[in-house]
C-alpha cells in the first residue's frame, strides 16, 4: 500500500470551494465537540445563573418593582438575560479556544495548512455562535418556567440572537489574538463586557435614566442589541429597530475586517 501519493500531488485548486467547506466543517465540529464535551462548564452555568436571576430579580424583587414599559418586570428582563448569556458564551468560547490553541501551539496545525484566513475565522466564529445560540435557547427554556412570554417576532428574535453571537465571537477572537496569558482573556469580559451588558438595559429601560446618562447609554452597542431583541420577544423597544440592526452590522463589519487584518499580518500568532 502506498504511504503517500506524491505522483498525484495534494488536493489543491481543482476543488477549492469543496476544500474550504471541509476545512470549515472540521473546525466547526471540533469547536462544537469541545464545548459539548465539557457541557458542565460551558452550558450548565448559564442555566443556573439565569434561574437565580429569575428567582431573585424576577420573583422576589420584581414584584416590588412593578411593571416596566407596560410589562411585568420578570417578563421585561427575559430578553436581557438571554442576550447576556449569548454574549458571554459566544465571546468566551472563541477567546478560550483560540487562546488555548496559541498557548499549546496547536494553532500551528492550522497555520501550516492551506486554509485561508477567512475560513479559519469563520470556523472559530461559527463555534462561538453555536455555543451562544445553544445557551440562548437553554436560557429561553428556563425563562419559560418563570414567565409567560410569547415570541412577538420570531424573525427579529432569531436574527438578533445570531448577529449578537457573531459580533461577540469576533470580539473574543480579537481578544485571543492579543492575549499573552490566560489572565488576558478574562480582563475584557470582566472589565468591559460585564459593565456594558449590565448598563445596556438588561434590568431597566433607559427612559428611567436622567440626563446625561440616558444619552451616554446610546453609545453602548449592547443597548441596541438588547432593545432589538426585546422587540423581537416582547414587542417593546427604546431604540428604533432599523437603527439597532445598522449599529450591529457596522460593528460586525468592523470587527470582522480587523480580525482578518490581524490574521493576515500574523499578529500574535507568527513571529
Amino acid at each position: 500500500m502506498n504511504i503517500n501519493a506524491a505522483d498525484k500531488g495534494p488536493l489543491i485548486d481543482a476543488n477549492r470551494w469543496r476544500r474550504y467547506q471541509i476545512t470549515f466543517t472540521t473546525l466547526f465540529s471540533k469547536e462544537v465537540t469541545r464545548f459539548s464535551r465539557i457541557w458542565i462548564q460551558t452550558i450548565l452555568p448559564s442555566a443556573i445563573t439565569t434561574t437565580l436571576y429569575f428567582v431573585i430579580f424576577g420573583r422576589l424583587i420584581g414584584d416590588r418593582i412593578g411593571p416596566m414599559e407596560g410589562l411585568a418586570y420578570i417578563d421585561f428582563i427575559v430578553p436581557g438575560l438571554v442576550l447576556m448569556a449569548v454574549i458571554t458564551n459566544a465571546y468566551s468560547n472563541v477567546v478560550s479556544s483560540f487562546y488555548s490553541s496559541k498557548f499549546s501551539r496547536y494553532i500551528e496545525e492550522l497555520l501550516v495548512s492551506p486554509a485561508p484566513n477567512w475560513v479559519i475565522l469563520a470556523g472559530y466564529v461559527a463555534g462561538g455562535v453555536a455555543r451562544g445560540l445553544l445557551v440562548g435557547i437553554v436560557v429561553l427554556i428556563v425563562a419559560a418556567f418563570f414567565t409567560s412570554f410569547s415570541i412577538h417576532n420570531i424573525g427579529v428574535t432569531f436574527l438578533i440572537l445570531l448577529l449578537t453571537a457573531i459580533l461577540f465571537s469576533l470580539g473574543g477572537f480579537i481578544n485571543a489574538i492579543y492575549a499573552n496569558s490566560f489572565d488576558d482573556i478574562s480582563i475584557v469580559p470582566t472589565f468591559v463586557l460585564a459593565p456594558l451588558t449590565y448598563l445596556g438595559g438588561v434590568f431597566y429601560s433607559i427612559e428611567l435614566l436622567p440626563q446625561p446618562w440616558q444619552t451616554l447609554s446610546l453609545a453602548n452597542p449592547i443597548l441596541y442589541m438588547i432593545n432589538a431583541f426585546r422587540y423581537g420577544l416582547l414587542g417593546v423597544s427604546d431604540i428604533p429597530l432599523g437603527f439597532a440592526f445598522l449599529i450591529i452590522a457596522i460593528f460586525i463589519a468592523a470587527l470582522g475586517y480587523y480580525s482578518l487584518s490581524l490574521l493576515r499580518r500574523g499578529i500574535g500568532i507568527k513571529q
Binding site: M1, N2, I3, N4, A5, A6, D7, K8, G9, P10, L11, I12, D13, N15, R18, R19, Y20, I22, T23, T25, T26, L27, K30, S100, S101, S104, R105, Y106, E108, E109, L110, L111, V112, S113, P114, A115, P116, G266, K270, Q271
Partner: protein, 308 residues
C-alpha cells in the same frame, strides 16, 4: 523542478536578531536532504518561513514552483511538517489529531479515515488511536506527528529533529519509514543533531550557521574530503610497547586499546597487515568519531573563523 527553492532569504526578529542572512538554497524533488547546523544557526527559522509559521523579512521561497507570496495555499498544500516541539491538543484522542489535520487540508472525512488508519498502522499507533495525546509516550507522540504530517499526502516533508529523545529501536523504525516514503517519491528535508542519522539517510546536505549556508554538497563528496579517519582498536592481548607502523599513527588508550589515524592514502587492509606482522591481533574496530560529525565541526569552525 526543485522541491524547494530559496533565494536571498532573510529574517530579522523584532528584537534585532538576524536569524537568516540572504540564504540561497535549492533542494531537488525526490531528494533526502539534511539541513544541519548548531543550535541557533537558523534552521528552525528557515523551516518556519517555508512552512508559513514565521514571516520573512526579505527574499523569495518557492515550493514546486509555487511562490510563497503569490500562491501561499499551493505552497502549504504541498508541505508536511514534523516540528521539533510537540504542538497538538493534548486532550484529543490520537486519531482526532490526524483527522483534524486532514480536514484542515481539505481531505474528505471518509478518505481521511482510511489514510489515518493506514498511517497509524504503519507507525504502530493503531491500537492507541483512541488514547488522549497526553497519555502517549514521547516516542508515540513523535510518530503521531509524522502520521499527522503525511495524512494530506504532501510532496515535500520537513522533519525538524523527528527522532529527538526517541530510543534507538523506535528511531530505527522511523528511519525505515522515512526511507520508504522517500523511495515512493516524497522529498524529505531533515534536520537532526544525530549526524549518523543524516549520514545514513540523506544524499545531500547543507550546513547552516549564523544565518548563512556554510556548505552545500552531497554526502559522498563531503565524506571524501576527510583527510584522515581515526579508529579505535580493541586488542586480543596486551601491547606495552607501540610498534612503529609506517603511515599509521598509533596511540595507546590503554594496554588493550589503541587509537590509530589512517590517512586517505592508506587502507585498513594495510593497517591489519602491519599489525599482523607485529603480532598484534584485533578483536574489534570502530570509528572514534562519526565521519560527518568531524566534517560538520570543521565546517562550522571554518565558517566562524571567516565570519567577521
Amino acid at each position: 523542478m526543485p522541491a524547494l527553492s530559496v533565494h536571498q532569504l532573510s529574517k530579522t526578529y523584532a528584537n534585532g536578531l538576524q536569524a537568516l542572512n540572504a540564504v540561497d538554497l535549492q533542494v531537488e524533488a525526490g531528494d533526502f536532504f539534511a539541513l544541519l547546523g548548531p543550535n541557533g544557526a537558523g534552521k528552525s527559522t528557515l523551516i518556519g518561513i517555508v512552512t508559513s509559521l514565521v514571516r520573512k523579512s526579505g527574499g523569495r521561497v518557492e515550493v514546486f514552483g509555487h511562490d510563497l507570496d503569490r500562491e501561499p495555499e499551493a505552497v502549504r498544500a504541498n508541505i508536511g511538517v514534523v516540528p521539533q516541539e510537540f504542538n497538538f491538543n493534548l486532550f484529543l484522542p490520537a486519531i482526532e489529531v490526524v483527522l483534524n489535520q486532514a480536514g484542515y487540508f481539505g481531505v474528505p472525512r471518509k478518505e481521511a479515515r482510511s489514510r489515518a488508519e493506514m498511517l497509524l498502522r504503519k507507525l504502530d499507533l493503531w491500537d492507541r488511536r483512541e488514547t488522549e495525546m497526553r497519555r502517549l509516550s514521547g516516542g508515540m507522540k513523535r510518530r503521531l506527528m509524522i502520521a499527522r504530517a503525511l495524512v494530506h499526502r504532501p510532496r515535500l516533508v520537513i522533519l525538524d529533529e523527528p527522532t529527538a529523545g526517541v530510543d534507538i529501536e523506535i528511531r530505527r523504525t522511523m528511519w525505515g519509514f522515512m526511507r520508504e516514503i522517500n523511495a515512493e517519491g516524497t522529498t524529505i528535508i531533515l534536520t537532526t543533531h544525530y549526524l549518523e542519522e543524516a549520514e545514513s539517510l540523506c544524499r545531500n546536505i547543507a550546513i547552516i550557521d549564523h544565518g548563512r549556508i556554510q556548505s552545500r554538497t552531497d554526502i559522498a563528496t563531503l565524506l571524501s574530503e576527510l583527510d584522515t579517519e581515526t579508529f579505535v582498536l580493541n586488542l586480543k592481548g596486551r601491547v606495552c610497547q607501540l610498534p612503529s607502523l609506517g603511515g599509521f599513527v598509533l596511540e595507546h588508550i590503554d594496554e588493550s586499546t589503541l587509537e590509530v589515524q589512517i590517512s586517505r592514502e592508506h587502507t585498513i587492509n594495510g593497517l591489519f597487515e602491519a599489525l599482523s606482522r607485529n603480532g598484534i591481533e584485533v578483536l574489534s574496530l570502530r570509528n572514534k568519531q562519526n565521519r560527518l560529525e568531524k566534517l560538520f565541526l570543521d565546517r562550522v569552525e571554518a565558517g566562524r573563523g571567516a565570519t567577521p
